[in-house]
Symmetry: C2
Subunit: 345 residues, 2 copies
DNA sequence: GTTAGCACTCTCTTATATTGAGTGCTAAAA
DNA sequence: TTTTAGCACTCAATATAAGAGAGTGCTAAC
């Protein structure tokens, strides 16, 4: 059987209607609301064909039809027309980036908030990943006799700092010496290039207090590792899911919200997104079982050419793909642009 | 009418049963399960009295009774016996504080997590408040030609840092001078004692580049203000509320979860808690409308003698007060003890 | 003062129509 | 050959009715 123009029209009408109403769509509804110039009986025949081809499903005999995942896939890839942003949406985003926010992380977090506000979908982002960022400067700043702050300044003005414990008997001059050593070793390297074994050579270089040194080196190691790892997740609008008719029963809500509490899993899901542009992952295309009734729309954000992280939007499979994709596209570009302007190298 | 010993016994039995079953308790149930040596008819009479006195309520004529807020209040203040922790609970808490966590904030966050894990109630905490902490040392650490890190080290090894923008033409020597100035001005003061006007005297002291200075002073001001303000909230186990039979309908769940997303409101609620020991706030005693069916159990945590923040636990008014209060008490003390040992002055 | 007994109340459950949206098939019309 | 009107059939959702069950309140006897 062939998917001719009329079948596509009927399918598009049904998807469109279902996205709006969340109710199975019947042949009469299509005939009345969408003037395709054919009667409900003809539409019924087409619908029957479309079901046979796997684009439509019937909850039960006497109900209308709902689109299958295959239908949504076709819709997203071929059928839907990506709208441009409404005035209100564009204005909202513009306002966000007119604020002068200095913390890079804060910018991303605010982006997630706006995304969720505009779309009413749950929004999420991977915190900026620094693995590929080069280190410009390392400094140990003495805090008191027991603690020092290990400040790592990276290219792009981003910095990571960690509190580390220093053994007794190490003075400020000494910390400065170590700072110099760390700079010599790691300047212009990325976090992932850091050779932690090189740290142990501190022992040889400053061959005093051997014993105390071990814990100090361990602390430095920990500090640098922590600087590299950044699995934070920003999440907003989780309760938005309660607005959708498909989430009106507790077990579903629970499974969704539980997943949103699992930052590790969200991290993995978002981190697996690669490549350019907006990606849409529908229902069971998602890697995680609990997302089988959801769609995930993602895009990466960048600083210059470098991918820093991913932003995403989660809603029911019956989501407004057209609007969601256009907002996501616009947002990811605006964010990248803003970051590059502010922190660009 | 007087609340004699037998009435108290009956009331206690009903509260106890209702906390466990979440079902209205009838006279026969009390007679059978709790051997008070009186018949169901007598219990019925007592229950009728207790209702008249405002301790019990009847959902409808042919249902059993449920405790009123007044009953819970009495129960918490007088009737309940505070249990000691189970072996499992004590062990769990012990393990937490055997970990060596260096970041003070992280300790508090982990505490909230454990609290929610142990009790299965939603747990929440106010991030450590630094307003009353004295400043020990301030340092401007140059980051690159445009940015510097304003590091404020407080008593107790806690530190706050903020990225600030520096005007062109200010070199490292100069930053050092400013650091020295800031130290002279603000050392041994608390954040709330900082006189921001004093900052403007920098202009007179370094009477060069007058124009550039204005933005620099503004940035410093912002940085110090940010150091003082810390309205962060740690929240864990929000989905636990879905386990309770009273939260099986979506509107209730929505109102609860929406409140949990309002960090500002949670901040105000927790911040209004003062004084020593564990506090219990039942139903409409809570300041917020959406908590009218919830109870909030709170305690402050300290560093030495200084109150740093508040931890809290939220559940339905029908909560296991006895267990909740004992866990909260134990937890707040353990946290304070741990913090004082690690950061104590 | 306490308790057995019993009528009464009200929710909750189960069983039984009834309704209505929607389909699939058939036969006639285009 | 394609389209369409017509109609019987299906099935969830809604409404209605009957029954069961839990619990109370009252009365009268202990």
């Amino acid at each position: 059987m062939e998917l001719d123009a009329r079948k596509l029209q009927v399918l598009q009408a049904i998807i469109h209607d279902y996205i709006i109403t969340a109710e199975p769509v019947g042949s009469r509804t299509v005939a009345k609301k969408y003037n395709l110039g054919i009667s409900s009986a003809t539409i019924r025949n087409e619908m029957s064909d479309l079901e046979e081809m796997g684009f439509l499903e019937q909850p039960h005999t006497s109900a209308g039809r709902i689109p299958s995942e295959k239908a949504y896939r076709l819709y997203v890839d071929k059928l839907m027309q990506v709208r441009s942003l409404s005035h209100h949406e564009a204005e909202y985003i513009k306002q966000l980036y007119e604020l002068k926010i200095l913390q890079l992380e804060e910018v991303v977090y605010q982006t997630v908030k706006v995304l969720s506000d505009i779309t009413n979908y749950t929004s999420v982002a991977l915190a900026p990943q620094f693995n590929e960022i080069t280190i410009k400067h390392i400094q140990l700043v003495p805090v008191d006799k027991d603690f020092a702050l290990l400040v790592v300044v990276t290219s792009s003005g981003i910095l990571k700092d960690t509190l580390i414990q220093i053994p007794k008997g190490i003075d400020n001059d000494f910390l400065q010496k170590v700072s110099n050593f760390l700079n010599e070793q790691f300047r212009n390297k990325t976090f992932s290039e850091i050779d932690l074994d090189a740290l142990s050579s501190i022992r040889q270089i400053f061959n005093e207090n051997q014993r105390l040194f071990n814990t100090f080196v361990d602390e430095l190691t920990r500090g640098l590792q922590e600087g590299a790892r950044d699995k934070e997740i920003y999440l907003e609008g989780t309760t938005n899911i309660l607005n959708f008719p498909e989430y009106q029963d507790i077990p579903r809500v629970r499974s969704f919200l539980s997943l949103m509490e699992e930052k590790d899993i969200l991290y993995r899901i978002l981190n697996s997104v690669k490549g350019n542009g907006v990606k849409v992952s529908i229902g069971t295309e998602n890697p995680h079982e609990d997302l089988k009734d959801c769609s995930l729309i993602t895009a990466t954000y960048r600083l210059g050419e470098r991918v820093l992280g991913t932003i995403g939007m989660i809603g029911p499979t019956r989501m407004e793909y057209s609007r969601a994709v256009s907002v996501m596209d616009h947002m990811a570009k605006a964010l990248s642009c803003y970051l590059t302007k502010l922190y660009g190298e």
